[in-house]
């Protein structure tokens, strides 16, 4: 691995104040009167960030919809009425009615399917992110903290998994299963997706390991477990959370893509990806069948992306 020479990272100035180009002599001034911690400072910023508020609102709404879809529609996503509703056009003014977004090729209410389909996306997105974060953090922390041959082996394994293109790997795994329950899709994505978090965790643990407070804790005789849980983990968690939130949107997109390709979730599970896939035949004369679930996928992914972006900007003052 190429690495930067020590000279670039070593701080050279005793008085580093003048290294910020913006307003060198005012640095002392801009320091807020009361010292805020990283998290409360981030929260202070987030509360007044419209991007954050909008995305957080959307995410809460999505969570409610996926938990209680029945609250939002009375129609069942599986009730098919081919005779009356085949490819029925949307009635944009019929808010929250079954025909609001029209009907699909089997005469099912698209509005209802969109509402019920949220659950699959959210479960996959949240499930994969949670497991990937746990697994990746564990591997990254062990590799980064212990170093040596442990690091070598774990890093090579990470390299190997990274060498497999994500989508291709998921395709290969998932085509092997004839019945693809939601947990199969989750596990397949976790199997291939943990490497990103592992790398991030490893990197930040290596940095933290050399920090004075960790050295001090060691010198004071703290146990490895204590150092890892009390000092390393809390300080490594910020970059991990940022990567995880942004990745969450990606997993939702991946589930939709796989379901669209016919190797992810499948009927009778209600999923946006499945609906997009079934709408492709009628794209020319009934585009709404494809476009509406597509838009739902995009809005969901966008919400998590904006959320992750806002959190990153708040936690990483360098980017301000």
């Amino acid at each position: 691995m190429p690495e930067k020479t020590a000279a670039t990272t070593a701080s050279t100035g005793t008085e580093t104040v003048t290294t910020t180009a913006a307003a060198p002599d005012t640095v002392l001034v801009t320091k807020a009167p009361k010292a805020r911690s990283l998290w409360s400072d981030a929260w202070h910023d987030l509360r007044r960030n419209p991007l954050f508020l909008v995305s957080a609102g959307l995410i809460v709404l999505l969570l409610i919809v996926s938990a209680f879809p029945g609250l939002f529609t009375s129609a069942s996503p599986r009730d098919a009425d081919l005779a009356n509703h085949y490819l029925g056009q949307p009635n944009w003014s019929h808010f929250f009615q079954p025909d609001w977004f029209g009907y699909d090729g089997q005469g099912r209410s698209i509005y209802s399917r969109v509402v019920y389909g949220a659950r699959a996306s959210i479960i996959v997105g949240v499930g994969v992110t949670a497991l990937v974060t746990i697994l990746g953090t564990l591997v990254g922390m062990i590799a980064g903290y212990f170093g040596g041959w442990v690091d070598t082996i774990l890093s090579r394994i990470t390299d190997i998994f990274m060498g497999i293109p994500f989508l291709l790997g998921a395709l290969v795994v998932l085509t092997s299963f004839e019945k693809r329950a939601i947990w199969v899709v989750i596990l397949a994505l976790v199997f291939l997706g943990w490497t990103q978090i592992a790398r991030v965790a490893r990197g930040s643990v290596i940095t933290i390991k050399q920090a004075d407070y960790v050295v001090a804790a060691k010198a004071l005789g703290a146990s490895t477990t204590r150092i890892l849980t009390r000092h390393v983990l809390p300080n490594a968690v910020a970059p991990i959370i940022v990567v995880a939130t942004i990745a969450l949107g990606g997993y939702i997109a991946a589930e939709a893509t796989l379901s669209f390709l016919g190797v992810g979730l499948a009927e009778p599970t209600v999923s946006w990806g499945v609906d997009v896939s079934s709408g492709r035949e009628q794209l020319r004369n009934a585009p709404h069948v494809l476009i509406i679930p597509s838009v739902m996928v995009s809005i969901t992914v966008l919400s998590f992306l904006m959320f992750g972006d806002a959190v990153r900007n708040a936690l990483d003052p360098k980017l301000r």
Partner: protein, 352 residues
């Protein structure tokens, strides 16, 4: 501002410099920064001048406005958030603040050059030093790549970088701190400017290297008869090279004096505090003096004299009235050329 008239009465330290008119004159300069938390008044009416061949040391803590003043002269303030609501910066009698961007650009580097504190971050990490030096000749004088390279080697020899020819293609990180600062100096000297502003040129260096770099700078200044503004917080650096000193505090000049007189008899409690906090061999074993308190918050500069919360001599008048920079005289009223103090109690301070 009343300060202008008062300082106009302060005679220049060296008659020779003044006769031909100062090279650079800063008049009643104000700089403020508009930040999230309010307006930070970094510079509040600074006046100073430098003549050819003269060295002015600007002394102060961080936050005193010494660097901001220099950046305003150089035209490298970030605007916004920076703003110059008031003041003039005259270079050979012409106000640079009213010049067009292009006119100012032609002065930068060619007539006025700057040496920065942290040479490592101030040099471009991905371009060779030869390229960065040669750039001056290529842009300002239209030399070819080859000619520029030859000139760069010449410059590196001039600032005593060993094996200049072999090292011209090296990158900044491959040099030691002292060598990097020499490269910064070489870059500033490239076009033999009339004035050099050195912003804490030795702060980032080892003590032993500091002296070498300062000597080099002083030597080159003499050779080219340049004006030099030396910005520093280190009284030790100043003594040997400067002709006159301006001490800054909270964006104002609180004392001006020819260098040796300042050391002998400071006329401002702040200057006295600075001098007293230098460790001295003959006081070994005693507790070292320190100015109590912290530099002022530029968002909320204290009323009256900005130094009053930290000043041992502070009285009621200090908390209400801003002291003007007035000429300092001997006890019998005879003039002390070039001396001024912005303290209500300057007489007690210098004569007491």
């Amino acid at each position: 501002m009343t300060i202008i008239e008062e300082t106009a009465g302060v005679p220049a330290p060296r008659a020779g410099g003044e006769a031909s008119g100062p090279l650079l004159e800063v008049r009643d300069l104000h700089v403020e920064f508009h930040t999230r938390d309010g307006v930070a008044k970094a510079v509040n009416g600074v006046n100073y001048s430098v003549a050819s061949g003269e060295t002015l040391a600007v002394l102060g803590e961080s936050g005193s406005g010494k660097s901001v003043t220099a950046q305003a002269i150089m035209g490298i303030l970030d605007m916004p958030p920076g703003k110059i609501p008031h003041g003039q910066i005259l270079f050979r009698g012409q106000d640079m603040l009213t010049m067009s961007n292009d006119e100012r650009r032609k002065i930068r580097g060619r007539k006025i050059a700057m040496i920065f504190q942290d040479a490592l971050s101030s040099l471009n990490p991905v371009l060779s030093v030869g390229y960065q030096l040669g750039e001056m000749f290529r842009v300002h004088q239209g030399l070819s790549k080859k000619e520029a390279k030859a000139k760069s080697i010449e410059l590196m020899d001039k600032v005593k970088i060993p094996a200049a020819k072999a090292r011209v293609g090296d990158y900044p990180h491959q040099f030691s701190g002292g060598m990097r600062q020499r490269i910064m100096i070489a870059m500033a000297l490239a076009l033999e400017p009339d004035l050099i502003i050195a912003d804490e040129p030795t702060t980032a260096l080892d003590v032993t290297v500091q002296a070498q770099v300062m000597d080099l700078l002083a030597e080159l200044q003499r050779e080219y008869n340049m004006g030099l503004i030396l910005i520093t917080h280190d009284l030790g650096v100043v003594a040997d090279v400067a002709d006159k000193i301006a001490v800054m505090y909270a964006g104002r000049i609180v004392e001006t004096a020819p260098v040796h007189e300042l050391y002998k008899r400071p006329a401002h409690p702040y200057t006295r505090g600075l001098l007293d906090s230098i460790p001295r061999l003959d006081q070994k074993g005693q507790e070292l003096y320190a100015i109590k308190g912290l530099p002022p918050n530029l968002l909320k500069i204290p009323t009256g004299c900005a130094f009053n919360p930290r000043c041992p001599k502070a009285d009621d008048i200090c908390r209400t009235e801003i002291p003007a920079l007035v000429p300092v005289t001997e006890q019998d009223g005879s003039e002390l050329p070039g001396r001024g103090s912005a303290c209500h109690f300057w007489k007690e301070t210098i004569h007491g």
